[in-house]
Symmetry: C2
Subunit: 355 residues, 2 copies
Amino acid sequence: MKTIKDIAEEANVSVGTVDRVIHKRNGVSPVTRAKVQLILKKHNFKRNVLASTLAYKKSYTIAVMLPSSDSKFDFWIEPIKGIETAIDEIRRYKVETLCFYFDKLNLASYKQTIKRVLDLNPDGLVLAPFFYSTSIEFTSELNQRNIPYVFFNIDIESQQNLTFIGQESFQSGLISGKLLNMILGKQDHITILRSRKNVDTHHSIDARSKGFVEFYLKNSSPRTIIELYADDFNPEEIENILKRELSKNNLIKGIFVPSSGSSNVAEYIEKAEMKDMHLVGFDAHTGNLKYLESGTIDFLIDQDPFDQGYLGVKVLFEYLLFKKQPLKNYSSPINIVTKENARFFRKPSMIGITS
Amino acid sequence: MKTIKDIAEEANVSVGTVDRVIHKRNGVSPVTRAKVQLILKKHNFKRNVLASTLAYKKSYTIAVMLPSSDSKFDFWIEPIKGIETAIDEIRRYKVETLCFYFDKLNLASYKQTIKRVLDLNPDGLVLAPFFYSTSIEFTSELNQRNIPYVFFNIDIESQQNLTFIGQESFQSGLISGKLLNMILGKQDHITILRSRKNVDTHHSIDARSKGFVEFYLKNSSPRTIIELYADDFNPEEIENILKRELSKNNLIKGIFVPSSGSSNVAEYIEKAEMKDMHLVGFDAHTGNLKYLESGTIDFLIDQDPFDQGYLGVKVLFEYLLFKKQPLKNYSSPINIVTKENARFFRKPSMIGITS
DNA sequence: CTGAAAGCGCTTACAG
DNA sequence: CTGAAAGCGCTTACAG
């Protein structure tokens, strides 16, 4: 494998000049540039990233913005792990990665975090954009400052984000519909228990619900589907609403929870001992897995949140340091999780070039 | 972050001595060693892998042994892609990775490939061990030569392999049982269409079948299950056997194919226009996906073969260069693939530190 | 516009 | 047992 010294010798120039050509810096005569480029091409030269990084002076700051994870049962633990793994892998490069956490139920906290990120003025940002209109203002500021940003988990359309890493919500809802349909009797009714809080943050809940309903429309499986709204993290409210609705309609045998809070629904179902109730929810985090194991939740749809965090940081890192243009978006998998395969989804700590 | 120069200064020794301590080489007095080690610990020193690799002299040869992929519809294309991705990522380190392909239906070809690998005498080996007894002889030779080896996709128990990367076959069969059960009527019968060829290579086919049957035993869902044997890559034989058996028993409404060849079964089902026949198979390769799309195959169980190849090379690489001890085994996921989520499973070309 | 030289943080002979 | 020096393949001021 040729080195820049080899190239320099063949071209009768110094390595400094070869370096200038490789990085398209100016200060090289057109003739010299052409000559060097030809030889570069001829040998299909690739610079040694190791040596390059070691000698590199410029350093980068990457900011990451995501909700804080309040408990061990929370969805957001996994992306955090993925982010930490990525940070660990890129530690030896001259990048500093800083995480900023906000309260996902609290707009003020979100705004405050934005201010801190803007004060830092990083070279790039990875974020899960909650609070639609505030996020829009934020990204327009980022655009002005020319700070590249990557969305993960939550998407906002027609922004200038570098890429989006996350699941196709409509499709994941559609599959949920298919799964619930398979385990219900022909005459059973279904309810979709939608979250009420943070309406403006959860575009994807809406898309999942639409996809769910779409399954029944497309496959001419007529079903009575009742949409209910409840704060999916308020057990009391869930209990009240379900108690009321299920007593009104005893044909309801299936519940679809398009958020990550199905454990709260499962808790009530177990308490009320509704043995023949079927449940499909989202996200295989510890809190939900408990009820998957006990059989109350039949299926969970998972999106590999570890990987979302990991990829977010990795993609931005490669863009900044190696000018590697990412894909337009990275679709997360739509994993169908049952109690039988749940334990095989969590990755063994990723194999990176670290130690 | 401290460098070995910092450590050397603090300990009043040369960097050469610090290097000797770090790598536990001899030629250092106990007193000096202790002193340096203390300072190393104090600063939680980690060597810069970039610089280390760049300066490193020793080079490694890794061999990979796997079946050649005869067609575009073959399972083995994916691990090959994973292996190539890994090779690309580690190219800058002083490792050379060589792939050796054999005909998985031909013992002589397998033996010949083994000979070529032994002639090369690599520093490490990643392999999918077909042909049980030949493989046993092979590994004992590897043991004698002290060549570490990693199994992927296929496991052989109680060998001295560094690790195994693959799916838990019994469990994946169990899930297949669950899925087929969900879509069949209570009275329907099932047939398991097992491959006949290469009996000694496919331990996992057996385990999958056992797991499948186990589901019905455990969940007290009585079912008539008929085991049939046919070369799953011989369409004619499949047609003959199925025609005969299905005419004998018209209650058979579900077929389980515990190998990767379910497309060949699907082909016959479509040809014979058996609209109400349900099919569960393994491996989401192109050939099978076609029939998943058309609806003839209901579910495929996938094991992320790309990742198996990728991890195999990566794990061995890290073991050889960084003495990173791998886990005892890396369980592949048990992905439930339907036509609705199939397109989200293939990974975007992995993000590695390359270019 | 171009080159010579120092330096990134290690490893490796070599000399003593 | 220990140190001084060269070298891995780049990047970066600096001098001309």
